[in-house]
């Protein structure tokens, strides 16, 4: 199969440029996880350091929380990807695209990767915010790279999942409803906010296969300087590739044009 590089690049660039040219979207994308860090991250600020160490393995809860918040943020970027697709359907732009020799599969891939890239915009902002909250970073370049790659894989997987679920939809409300339905169970049944050692068995079982857990634990191992389980990166790659494949298949067959 010949890879359509030209439309892939054109549509991907469009997705990314539209994000940077829309100050409101950019602001929300950045502020939302920042607020998580500020409000939720401060909830244990008065806890004695010894107890923090015992509970989270860190003297600063934000140091523990940052990889989790970044991971859960990748869920919401999937919603933005779906909304962007529905906007294209409703304003006729999807028709404009598909009257050219560009396939529905190509549109899907660019939406998924574009949204994932949008999600990564949060990374430098969150790192800077964490620094402001007194968090220290002692990561090697390889660890920085692995953390970013892990988040990109997670975002790609979730964006693909959202796009597959909403492929037939032209209703503005659908991505929000799907997001509400998916985000809460996946966020709480993961190690994003707390370790899973105190979870009931059924929640621990969900957490053990939850890609948010893999991403959070990967980043956390870099942040806390504990042993890294590199297989998490492999699981995240499998998740991203599987969701891309499913989304590609679903979109190629069922993506509505209008």
């Amino acid at each position: 199969m010949k890879i359509p590089w030209s439309p892939l690049w054109g549509l991907y660039a469009r997705e990314v440029l539209r994000t940077f040219r829309n100050p409101f979207v950019l602001l929300v994308t950045i502020v939302q996880p920042f607020m998580w860090l500020a409000f939720f991250g401060s909830s244990f600020s008065l806890l004695p350091k010894a107890e923090l160490e015992a509970l989270f393995g860190a003297s600063n809860y934000i140091q523990f929380l940052l990889p989790g918040v970044l991971s859960t943020s990748m869920l919401s970027v999937g919603m933005f990807g779906s909304m962007s697709t529905i906007q294209d359907k409703r304003f006729g732009f999807m028709k404009r695209i598909l009257i050219t020799p560009t396939s529905k599969g190509t549109v899907f891939v660019t939406k998924a990767l574009g949204s994932a890239t949008r999600g990564l915009v949060q990374f430098p902002v969150m790192v800077a915010a964490a620094l402001a909250f007194g968090v220290t970073f002692q990561l090697t370049p390889l660890e920085w790279a692995a953390w970013i790659v892990g988040l990109m894989l997670l975002a790609t997987g979730f964006c693909s999942l959202f796009l597959a679920i909403t492929a037939r939809s032209t209703d503005w409300q659908t991505p929000g409803v799907v997001s509400n339905f998916i985000t809460m169970p996946l966020m709480f049944a993961s190690s994003a906010l707390f370790g899973s050692s105190h979870f009931p068995a059924w929640m621990a079982a969900i957490s053990s296969v939850n890609p948010i857990t893999f991403s959070a634990l990967l980043g956390r191992s870099f942040m806390l300087g504990t042993t890294t389980d590199w297989s998490y990166l492999g699981y995240l790659a499998i998740f991203a590739v599987a969701m891309l494949a499913i989304g590609y298949f679903v979109s190629s067959r069922w993506l509505r044009v209008e």
Partner: protein
């Protein structure tokens, strides 16, 4: 490309299935010669846009065959899409982008190389060079339409589909667009399939016209050929009081009389011969209004459909039709 740019054979399109199905196209046959401006004239909900959707592979064919630029729409859709341009009823551009960036994106979607000089030529042709680096959200409607046509021409298509290109435009912008369509056709030698429900637009722009109604092609030919089909003038008469229709029907040269209250539509062989006879029979104070229509696409439409364009039958109510379509599509 072959001598025929678009061939449609026995084409039907049905949305939905069973009781909820809607037949939007009903065994349509067309052969559109290359290098012509071909008009599809019909009311809202007639099937014009559906035919464009089918020919551009936006929606699938239920029955029949279609080819565009020599390629089968069903089996060679990518080849078709590489050779067609599209101008939508509503202007569809990326408002976050400049005119030049919209052209860049279109070039990427068409996988073009060395497109820049062509883009500059088009910007110049449409007098958009000075605004090429402005966001299109700041453009007037006319400028947006021009840019949309430039996008459709960027990859040197063989066929351009223009779906109600002047709908919602003011008179001066519509006239400007007519000049553009004529200019584009002459300058770039492209085949244009244009849908419209404006009689005067079809008459002014099209080399050939097909009249479509309720998914069926009812007549096709050059505007002159179509007008020649109507071997009658239409006299529209409004009277102040009731008149015996038998008396009017009995006048020499009268072919048909239809009355609705005091409104009369009288088909006559030659209006110039009929009017003196009418005035001899009806007092002038009984006549509130009288108009004579020579054969036009309007009278052709009336002839083939039995009603005027824009005078929808209750069952063809546009909102009902589209609501039915939405239900059928699920």
């Amino acid at each position: 490309m072959t001598d025929t740019a678009i061939v449609v054979k026995n084409l039907s399109k049905v949305y939905g299935s069973g009781d909820r199905s809607v037949r939007a196209l009903d065994h349509v046959n067309l052969a559109i010669p290359s290098g012509t401006v071909f008009g599809l004239l019909g009311p809202n909900g007639a099937g014009k846009t559906t035919l464009i959707k089918v020919l551009t592979d936006i929606t699938d064919i239920t029955e029949g065959d279609a080819s565009v630029a020599g390629f089968d729409v069903r089996t060679q859709s990518m080849e078709v899409r590489a050779r067609i341009g599209w101008v939508a009823a509503e202007v569809i551009l990326d408002d976050d982008f400049t005119a030049r960036e919209n052209l860049w994106l279109q070039a990427k979607l068409q996988s073009l190389t060395n497109w820049e000089s062509r883009a500059e030529d088009l910007l110049k042709f449409f007098s958009l060079t000075d605004r090429a680096d402005d966001k299109v959200s700041h453009f007037s409607t006319g400028m947006r339409k021009k840019l949309e046509i430039a996008l459709a021409l960027l990859h040197q298509p063989l066929v351009i589909f223009m779906d109600e290109p002047t709908i919602g435009l003011d008179v001066s912008t519509r006239r400007m667009l007519w000049d553009i369509v004529t200019g584009v056709h002459k300058e770039f030698g492209v085949t244009v399939l244009l849908t419209t429900h404006y009689i005067e637009e079809a008459d002014a722009l099209c080399d050939r016209v097909a009249i479509i109604d309720q998914g069926r092609i009812l007549a096709e030919g050059t505007p002159s050929e179509l007008k020649a089909r109507v071997k009658a003038d239409i006299v529209q008469l409004e009277t102040t009081e009731a008149i015996d229709p038998g008396k009017i029907s009995a006048l020499p040269g009268v072919q048909e009389v239809r009355a609705q209250g005091n409104d009369w539509m009288i088909r006559v062989a030659v209006a110039d011969e009929f009017l003196p006879r009418l005035f001899a029979m009806v007092r002038t104070d009984q006549i509130r209004r009288i108009t004579v229509e020579k054969p036009s696409l309007e009278t052709v439409f009336l002839e083939v459909t039995g009603r005027r364009l824009g005078q929808e039958e209750p069952m063809r109510d546009v909102r009902k039709f589209y609501a039915q379509m939405r239900r059928a599509r699920g």
